[in-house]
Amino acid sequence: MTNFAQNSRAVHTPGQDDAGTCFNIQDVNLYYGSFHALKDIHMDIPARQVTALIGPSGCGKSTLLKSLNRMNDLIPGCRITGKVELFGEDIYAPQTEVNLLRKRVGMVFQKPNPFPMSIYDNIAYGPRTHGVRSKVKLDAIVEHSLRKAALWDEVKDNLKKSAMAISGGQQQRLCIARCFAVQPDVILMDEPTSALDPISTSKIEDLVLEMKNEYTIVIVTHNMQQAARISDLTSFFLLGEMIEMGNTDSLFSNPTDKRTENYITGRFG
């Protein structure tokens, strides 16, 4: 346990700008009923960087991701102990407004999940939920968000078209644009390209690299090349434990833990 703490401290130092720590995760344990899904997690996730969570299926990486915007609240029997701070605020504190938390910490899901409504209404959904009524403002938000998601040129003439009618890759970018529209600080991505073709995947990866100028990105991925391509930091999970976290380059070229090495060289998983 102590060496995780050391790891998390070590992560802070090299080669990062001064945007500070976004998530400070301390001593987090998470249970689904009697199943111990996350064990003594200590981790600092820096702001305005891309942090990748990797590991074999069932290692807890998605669970950790969901605990960052409390989507795990929806899972019956899920219990969490320890502390998760977002810019210094404990997000599991009783006075935390979960809706405001989720407004600040957006999420992109594994399978694109646009609403069965028009492209425009999909993007306007979040702002409308948070009280924006003015058509002029909504128009501006929709255009801005779609431009940022590199989708504007493809859909600008069809904003009234159903979001269900565009391709899977476009739907996923729409979901990312939908996140932008509520102006979050953080965007969590849960294997966002696992259902997409290679071209759509590379578009989303390009997008992620641009997004980190404005947002903190935490991405769960099964694809180690993807983690290597787009993340600044990588954290390796196994059986509910965080084994190792470090700069992506050094973690992939020179892992300190044998298990990390075995995983990234493809010996299991």
Partner: protein, 276 residues
């Protein structure tokens, strides 16, 4: 085995075909003797004098159904939303059988309930003799609730949870996610439920007959009596003969066409929205 399935399907189609055929075969000859226009637009119903105008009944059917929807649709849809997304599983375990039971109560029992409770209550509180469009609508509203609730609930439960999660993940509350992401996605199913409810309401006979007063004249107000197309047939079929009898079958034809038209209009609207 396949033959058995086919045969079962054929029974169903055959039944529909035969019903259509006999209804029209028996109903249409009437229009050779009596102008269809006068029949549908005539405001006087006096079979003994050979005057057959069913406009009051057409209007009556529509008004009673409309009243039932006005009351039943919102209650039904909101109940379905409650059962699908708000109530605890314990509450749902009680409500589901209760709703199913509501569907299983015979019309005549509803009629008694209306006659013994709603009619006197209306007479005492609102005036008139109680046998009225108002009571008929309330009774029908209760009768169409199970149809609307069951269909809407199934439609709401069929909405992928990913819509709900997507909405929550943008910071929407539970209520707003349900009403703005889930319910709109279930809209076509909910509309189907309401259309089925309309079909049930417009076709209901016995319970209405017991509480609606059944005067064959243009409805004069919500506390006045009203006669619907179905009641018109049921009331007089027992003793009608010759042209009078044919006129009642023709009334059935009109009712049938109205129900078909409503179904077609709604399925057309639904389909057009899906294409869009």
């Amino acid at each position: 085995m396949r033959g058995l399935f086919l045969a079962s399907a054929c029974v169903c189609i055959f039944a529909v075909g035969v019903i259509c055929y006999f209804l029209f075969a028996n109903g249409l000859p009437f229009f050779a003797k009596y102008s269809a226009w006068d029949f549908i637009t005539g405001t006087e119903w006096a079979p003994l004098r050979g005057i057959y105008g069913i406009l009051p009944m057409i209007v009556g059917s529509f008004l009673v159904t409309f009243g039932a929807l006005l009351l039943g649709a919102p209650i039904g849809v909101l109940t379905a939303i409650l059962m699908a997304r708000f109530a605890s599983s314990r509450v749902v375990r009680v409500m589901k059988p209760a709703v199913a039971l509501l569907a299983g109560i015979p019309s005549v029992v509803y009629g008694f309930f209306g006659l013994k409770l709603l009619v006197p209550f209306t007479r005492n509180m609102l005036g008139g003799n109680g046998l009225s469009m108002f009571v008929a609508s309330i009774l029908l509203a209760i009768m169409i609730l199970p149809t609307i609730i069951q269909t809407s609930e199934a439609a709401i439960n069929a909405v992928p949870n990913s819509y709900y999660e997507g909405s929550l993940a943008m910071g929407a509350t539970h209520e707003s996610s349900v009403f703005r992401a889930i319910v709109p996605a279930a809209k076509s199913g909910i509309v189907s439920g309401i259309v089925l409810g309309i079909g049930r309401a417009i076709g209901e006979t016995t319970a209405i007959l017991m509480v609606a007063g059944n005067q064959a004249r243009m409805p004069t107000g919500i506390l006045a009596g009203v006669r619907t197309l179905t009641v018109n047939v049921l009331l007089e079929m027992g003793y009608a003969a010759d042209v009078h009898r044919e006129s009642l079958i023709a009334t059935g034809v009109v009712l049938f066409i109205i129900v078909m038209a409503i179904n077609f209009i709604f399925s057309f609207i639904n389909r057009r929205r899906v294409v869009q």
